[in-house]
Symmetry: none
Amino acid sequence: MQRFPNILLDGYRNFMSGRYADARDRYKALAEHGQNPSTLVIACSDSRAAPELIFDAGPGELFVIRNVANMVPPYEPDGHFHATSAALEFAVQALKVTDIVVMGHGRCGGIRAALDPSAEPLSPGDFIGRWMSLVRPAAEQIGANDVMTPAERQTALERVSIRNSIENLRTFPEIKALEDAGKIALHGAWFDISTGELWVMDAETRDFIRPDV
Amino acid sequence: MQRFPNILLDGYRNFMSGRYADARDRYKALAEHGQNPSTLVIACSDSRAAPELIFDAGPGELFVIRNVANMVPPYEPDGHFHATSAALEFAVQALKVTDIVVMGHGRCGGIRAALDPSAEPLSPGDFIGRWMSLVRPAAEQIGANDVMTPAERQTALERVSIRNSIENLRTFPEIKALEDAGKIALHGAWFDISTGELWVMDAETRDFIRPDV
Amino acid sequence: MQRFPNILLDGYRNFMSGRYADARDRYKALAEHGQNPSTLVIACSDSRAAPELIFDAGPGELFVIRNVANMVPPYEPDGHFHATSAALEFAVQALKVTDIVVMGHGRCGGIRAALDPSAEPLSPGDFIGRWMSLVRPAAEQIGANDVMTPAERQTALERVSIRNSIENLRTFPEIKALEDAGKIALHGAWFDISTGELWVMDAETRDFIRPDV
Amino acid sequence: MQRFPNILLDGYRNFMSGRYADARDRYKALAEHGQNPSTLVIACSDSRAAPELIFDAGPGELFVIRNVANMVPPYEPDGHFHATSAALEFAVQALKVTDIVVMGHGRCGGIRAALDPSAEPLSPGDFIGRWMSLVRPAAEQIGANDVMTPAERQTALERVSIRNSIENLRTFPEIKALEDAGKIALHGAWFDISTGELWVMDAETRDFIRPDV
């Protein structure tokens, strides 16, 4: 048979003899009683930005959506398939999470593509082009800025995009109502792959700052 | 200010003093040279089934899509927002991954919802209902079986859904062509939260079996 | 004379110099005082699923019925010859066993035949066809499922059939009365020939799970 | 949950660490390629007469029917459930065994019941009474003999019953034809629980003699 990747089997062996062995009872209980995470993290598919690593989270702690550039589309109850909106609905309505974190990161390939006006579609379907159009107005404005460096423009759009997704979260009537009632809190975070620094969004100023850790 | 969840800040502190400290150079190199993962994992948003934990994967190893019930919709180049298809396109066309793993797991809440004909929409948008309709024909067939137990029906649909997603991957012309050319391999896996067992799909019989680990 | 199979004579020699020599007194006592097993096992005739091997049982421990696919027919006091019902009656009424185990196994040829709608009778008497009709409704329902693999359908019916036999045990008035009085317990078990795994039926959910051994 | 008998779980543990560990590859091969036993043994359900113990047989060697008093009913293609005839048909037509052994034993409870004219039915269904009527003419004749001791009468009927079952085997047209063609051989054996002695039936004289072991 076609072989399952060895690197994954090796890793699984490590898991079983390490973390799983230590948390056997926790996994059993999570299977029996179900999951009950209080936090939803919307993170990027990027291999360098796994929230479980960055937040040192164990089984049962984080409900996680991962897509390119950790984005939330606006509320579109149009009967199409919506991977992100479906997971949002499940986290908020079924699991009743109390915190939603939109976590971006530096050197994001999706954001880089959005900033590149000469980028060719990756395939005839151009799914990335369409997906990144979620930040098009901001990308066009920042991309046209010729006094910031490319790295500055990239970091700027990464952070603008996080704020944009948080605004889109509020277009979901149920999330808006829960936030207004003080039952759910929306957060932004940005992880610097190069230095390991975590920046979190100040809810009032909407600036990204280093938390006191 | 509205406080960023303490549990995440605590976890981040552990990360910085632990795994990051050990892998500082690796993160720096990954920032400088970019990511180059060979594997895309499509996993569930479930808090108990993070692929980085189960495969003991470090930074840069796995490009990860996470949505409810780890599903892949069929190819639909219709100009709508497609979180999953966009991430697929990015992984296959830009990162040129050589392996795609669809990883399901036991006790999946999305699959349970799909099997429950009396399930009410979670919200007026009914995003979960629409999303889970991706496995509707199989869910109806298995759901109508009254000689298997609920848990047996659930495990059956979890595995059928993985095969279904793998078939949907093949509706993407680029993935189909790469697979035919032997340049990409599609895998299925199913993780048993209760026991920690990993089952992988035999590429020929499409049965799930325990790998010799 | 027509020769008794050498392989059996050789095995008998091993028995006499091995296990019998070790258990000579036990056999003598069992002859003198009679048998007094507490457990009846209903197992398959399959050469790969002998309960004495799987449960490492010595002389006097297990009263054993073996037929194709380890099945129990429903109570039929019709005056015909009933090999299985007669042995059941003897175990329950004369030996007063306290536990009855219906033990199925993977790759069961009888179950495979039951799932194959195109199977021809093995002989004009079609005894197997008639015998396997004991699980016909379940076989038809599972056999018609075209989203599960053949191996998945087979395992499903093997387990359904065990539950079916346990239900049939309860159609025997004496067994039902003893179970209601807490004097006899009915169990299900399923042995995986390929891996050696034993799965036992949870009495409440009726699911098959791995016991903590 | 209702607990699976501990004695069986303990025995299973011994099996896994002992015989299974030694025969892991054999079990795997038997699962993959199917069973191919050359011998069918029709033995008694008695806990003291397991053919796998007496013939020191490993997995895959013996296809086994076990019922009370190791009996074969005559050919009755009447559409009823026939546990023994179904297993016979499977062994002969599907597995194409070359040897059938009817193995009786001393101190058989079923034979004792058949010899006791004052025996009450064990239950209103009287399945044992009906089943043991398979040897009624011989039982009545031997039971009426008042010069043999009870033990002599019992051994006599145990051996007569084995010959009777072998005659019944020949009422199955397919078995008769195979035996006439020299493709299958029918054997009798009698095991003395008290001494461990095996007696086999001489095919010509039909006497039970000690084989040269």
